[in-house]
Symmetry: C2
Subunit: 322 residues, 2 copies
């Protein structure tokens, strides 16, 4: 398997004007899981029936894999501006280290760079890959907009929430799988299985994120526990609590949502309500359901080292602590 980090490091940003390209280099050097290119390349491996990708196969698949990672990092860069987030992966965000205009313009260029990488997809595969990539990018912007809309809505159903995280998180993983597999020659049934695998691990991933924000171990989680509770974020846990609570618990919960000055107490109280309503168990059950749905897709693919790797990855994501 090709070393994704090395491939990303080999992208050259030492061009002029440095004011435009340095923030891109900075953003991509921050690391992260490199989950999206890993999925794309592993999907390609699975379709090519195992073994390491090499030669032409790498040359064909790598541009799309890198495009997905650059695109993902573009979304983080602009999201951080919109969220006014000061820190990302332990370092100051671009709009803090430079300024907001730099974050906007370098972010725009990063999105264009993703398309530049994508333009190196083999010509016979390019029209379809470009369509899927655009569809994915659109989904993420739509998901982001729904997320913003939800902040101002008094009632959001779990169904709405699932649709939002599907757009915001899952379509990127699903398309990483589908695009990687398609370039490697996946047939339509395989494309569909790859897509569904990515979709369901994405949903499981996001629900696990919501669980960890409340029940994670502060030592391994990497962020403060209870952040979502403090900000009244409409997570799977909160929406489940709202849907399943009796009148008394619901009133108590709504009371706490109005508190903005007693964070420690609020986290403890809301967590206690969650515990009483068993929302953690409900969230875990849904997460496990989606993990199982993802794993079931693998049966429709060639059985080889790469599909085994995807199985391990899905299980690891579902049990991750950070």
């Amino acid at each position: 398997m090709i070393d994704i980090n090395k491939a990303i490091e080999s992208l050259d940003w030492s061009k002029d004007p440095q004011g435009l390209y340095e923030p891109i280099a900075y953003t991509l050097a921050a690391g992260g899981k490199r989950l999206r290119p890993t999925l794309a390349l592993t999907a390609a491996e699975a379709i090519m029936n195992g073994g390491l990708l090499n030669g032409d196969a790498i040359e064909n698949t790598l541009p799309a894999a890198l495009a997905l990672e650059v695109f993902h990092n573009f979304t983080l860069l602009h999201d951080d501006v919109m969220d006014k987030a000061a820190v990302r992966r332990g370092r100051p965000t671009v709009h803090v280290k430079w300024n907001e205009n730099t974050a906007i313009l370098s972010g725009d260029q990063m999105l264009i760079e993703a398309y530049k990488l994508l333009s190196n997809v083999p010509a016979d595969k390019l029209p379809q890959v470009l369509k899927w990539f655009n569809e994915m990018a659109t989904g993420i912007c739509e998901g982001q907009q729904y997320d913003v809309d939800f902040e101002h809505m008094s009632q959001v159903s779990i169904e709405d929430y699932m649709k939002m995280i599907e757009l915001k998180t899952s379509v990127l993983l699903a398309n990483a799988m589908r695009i990687g597999g398609y370039i490697a020659g996946a047939d339509e049934a395989q494309q569909k299985a790859l897509y569904q695998f990515g979709l369901h691990i994405g949903l499981a991933f996001q629900i696990q994120d919501d669980i960890l924000d409340v029940y994670g171990d502060p030592k391994t989680f990497g962020k403060a526990i209870g952040g979502d509770i403090c900000s009244n974020k409409k997570t799977f846990l909160l929406l489940t609590a709202m849907e399943t609570a009796d009148a008394e618990s619901k009133a108590e919960l709504l009371q706490w949502l109005m508190a903005t000055d007693r964070n420690e107490e609020k986290i403890a109280a809301v967590t206690a309500i969650y515990n009483r309503l068993n929302v953690r168990e409900a969230a875990e059950a849904t997460m496990e359901e989606h993990t199982a749905l993802a794993l079931a897709q693998l049966d429709k693919l060639p059985q080889n080292e790469a599909t085994e790797k995807l199985r391990v990855l899905a299980e690891k994501l579902a049990t991750r602590k950070s």
Copy 2:
């Protein structure tokens, strides 16, 4: 010739989430010259040896023409955020009418929409068109960054300035011409002539912009006269004045650049220095030079109604009053 405004109006933005798509509809409905799609379609007509584009030819060329217009409007949307501009084409800008986050996110989606339109370019032409489009988009971001960099530089040469406006303005017009012509079947020599035509009318256009900002008729110009002088913008006129002034005039000019509280007086004084140094004549000569270079390219193309239209357009841009 197809009606560009109608084609733009027929794009459907009545989708959910409206928070994402409404600002896109608003931006595109503001009108403007529609110069870029007009160039792309006219270039295609010129190559197809005149007559109106119809049927397949429209279907093949229109997606790229629309992509160019949507892309151009995306750059205006994000530029307005970065410049904190409150008004565009007589209406509140998106970040004023909605908010900054909306302008960022809807702008991002608009860039993606440009690529969605582009994905409808005929498959055999797509790889090359996508590469040129990416090259163009990169040029515009680089040009924008140089423009920002110039604000903080004490010395900018006319050569640097020309390079900047080439990136910021001309590469979009040049690629509109080249892409339109290429889709219509232009050979390499024709592609080059179309590109150079767009490049030179872009340079002439931008220099004319600088001239109008000082010497335009307030009645027809549409904006206040002297805006560039007030903000010390490094225009072709200012840089020419700095390069050609004797020590005394240069000192006087630098003195006025430091004044930030006497705008009326500053505009009058700097204009007087420009007049003394004949910078208007120098700018007009350079503008006419580029218009002539553009017109010379037309000799390398089939002579027909469309090339005649391009000739008229180049001459009109060079003598425009607004």
